[in-house]
Symmetry: C2
DNA sequence: TCTCGTTGCTAAATCGGGTTAGCGGCGGAT
DNA sequence: ATCCGCCGCTAACCCGATTTAGCAACGAGA
């Protein structure tokens, strides 16, 4: 049906040389192997005229490579995270002429095994094991022979695999500083976790690390967390409930919500209580979910750098693939990607402080 | 480094037969070609014991296939759409032992060309050309020789390519009926497009089709649209502005928002005006964006069936790949995937109708 | 004139599997 | 005993590239 692909043999014939000669010229080893300039030019011209493109499958068979990397995640669809992470990985891979296989395991070990097998069967050159929320994962044995990078995940057993993660501790500091810089010193409450380090939803790495950063920055400024409410699940309804409960007893000056969905619930509770954001209560949050710029006032939040995480994972993977031996002692490296503050409209100086002019625009 | 892959030759040796014999047995053509039961069993056992898996790259070289399909979209990350669509495609492909290459063009024709080339180089067996919002697209010439399906898109020139799209017209009917069934007859306003057919954002297929369905269902019930506001862009702020403007002159009984982001803006405008959803004003919408079940009251909306769209596209693609000749006369088929109503909390009988008991729970 | 060394290219093997043609061996018919 | 034909398997080639080993042709030195 389709006009048959142009093969190396066609190019060789057109240039009047043998197939290996054409191969040598096109792979750039012509000079080194003393192919004459004249022949090289003929081959190059023929390849150009015939629009020759090497068949990657064939090269793959010979060399054992595929110019392809596998991106395996537990869930692709659940969160917006996935999209941008994949986009970043996609573009970084494309820059190097690589394609991406996508697969998802849905947390099912058997599915994961099958998927890794399928990727192995297709001779992927490397693997990215991604998690949609930061957590520790058990690294399947089957990845051993392949260059692999963990994305948004840490190995359960200290395996010699590099990991790429958002810098959640620094994000906690950034969120706290956003309030401090606005002049807040009192009445800062946490929604979603805290105030103590042990008040975190089980298994949530992000909660722990954000909390560490928050407490650290606040502590440096000699500011005490006024209180905190743990949410078992970081969904709007839990943020609503926790904030509502908080408001029964105290009137906070500022809220650090542990993510945007919680913040959305908090907004509702504050609105129900007749409290205005940011005039009565400032709110900062984490994630930069699309919702953050939709709700009024727009939410100031510390963004998960999904796109950069994806890119970084590919970058790290390529240092593995290119097999720089000097890199082998950095095998288990953890790469932290900065989480930038998206300063929007939900933070203002506290009302009394505003009077004394301590606020910033 | 890694223990070399088990090849067919290894299996043949272990079973004490030649390579072709092993190949015949494993490909199931053993019976047909009179391989003895004894030999067949030996081969099967050896393959099992050695955990033999055929190298797909090798098979690909010989047969020209790769058990892989390419999923090319204009943008992966921008909307949640992508994630579920990809998930559906992924699972449908996996059911058949196929993998997915993901690529995005960002609307750039040159990037698209490169991407299709890269997929072609890897001998993908078929192509899905997806758009993140329903629209007509120019089909690149380079896809001609390959089985191809358009997803969420229609060919600009009536090409002989099947397309998979959400059934937006029926969705319009469903949304309208949700209000009719609740007893609404008057004061139904449109936000985002309408009331006339020409009041639609340029280039939006969804707007046109939804409007057709809405007007049709309303017309059948002899109900007139009370009014409508076009939004140039379907974002919350435009929904807010349009609804606010509407409320300056009239007091609607029900709103049909052309999508959930607009509905979110409408919620805010209604809240600002002191109107309660659904008691004062019922709201229905389209898309079933995650936001729809986060806002209070939960939004009744007609869902974009992203997951099913992805699955369906792969299903249709496989009828192309399997090349059922009977299917060749259905080449240009447009497959419509139903959009289900997610009945939640934003629709109630109109207040006067409620008194007469015409409402449903 | 013969040998040795370059130079410039190609024959042949290889990757891992699929496919076709055909080769020995055995049994039945003549 | 001889021939035919079927059974059961294998030799050999193919896909499209890369890579190693080595072959001609030519010039220079002995």
């Amino acid at each position: 049906m389709s006009p048959r692909r142009v093969t190396l043999a066609d190019v060789a014939k057109a240039a009047g040389v043998s197939r290996p000669t054409a191969s040598l010229v096109l792979s750039g080893r012509g000079r080194e192997l003393r192919i004459s300039e004249d022949v090289a030019q003929r081959v190059l011209r023929a390849a150009d005229e015939l629009q020759y493109r090497p068949n990657i499958v064939s090269v793959g068979l010979r060399t054992g490579t595929s110019r392809t990397i596998g991106f395996v995640s537990d869930t692709v669809a659940t969160s917006r995270l996935a999209g941008d992470m994949i986009k970043g990985a996609l573009e970084a891979a494309r820059d190097r002429g690589f394609m991406l296989f996508i697969g998802e395991t849905e947390g099912d070990a058997e599915l994961e095994r099958l998927l890794l097998q399928a990727m192995h069967d297709r001779q992927v050159d490397g693997l990215i094991l991604a998690s949609m929320f930061t957590r520790t994962i058990k690294v399947p044995k089957s990845v051993k022979p392949m260059p692999t990078v963990l994305l948004n995940a840490l190995p359960k057993q200290p395996a010699a695999l590099p990991a790429v993660l958002p810098d959640e501790v620094e994000a906690g500091r950034v969120a706290a500083r956003a309030l401090l810089d606005a002049g807040h010193r009192d009445g800062i409450h946490l929604i979603g976790a805290g105030p103590r380090m042990r008040d975190v939803p089980p298994g949530s790495v992000a909660a722990v690390e954000r909390l560490v950063g928050i407490r650290e920055a606040l502590g440096e400024a000699d500011v005490k967390v006024a209180g905190g409410r743990i949410c078992p699940d970081w969904q709007p309804e839990h943020g609503l409930a926790a904030t509502r409960e908080l408001l029964r007893t105290v009137r906070p000056r500022a809220l650090i919500c542990l993510n945007d969905r919680i913040a959305m619930g908090a907004y509702q509770a504050l609105d129900d209580a007749g409290l205005k954001v940011p005039d009565d209560v400032s709110v900062v949050s984490f994630d930069d979910h699309p919702i953050a710029s939709w709700i009024r006032p727009k939410l100031t939040t510390v963004a998960l750098p999904h796109y950069e995480l994806g890119r970084k994972a590919v970058d790290v993977l390529f240092t593995e693939i290119d097999g720089d031996p000097a890199a082998s002692d950095r095998k288990g490296d953890v790469h932290r990607v900065p989480m930038p503050l998206r300063a929007r409209e939900s933070v203002a100086p506290p009302q009394d402080a505003a009077r004394s002019g301590a606020g910033s625009s």
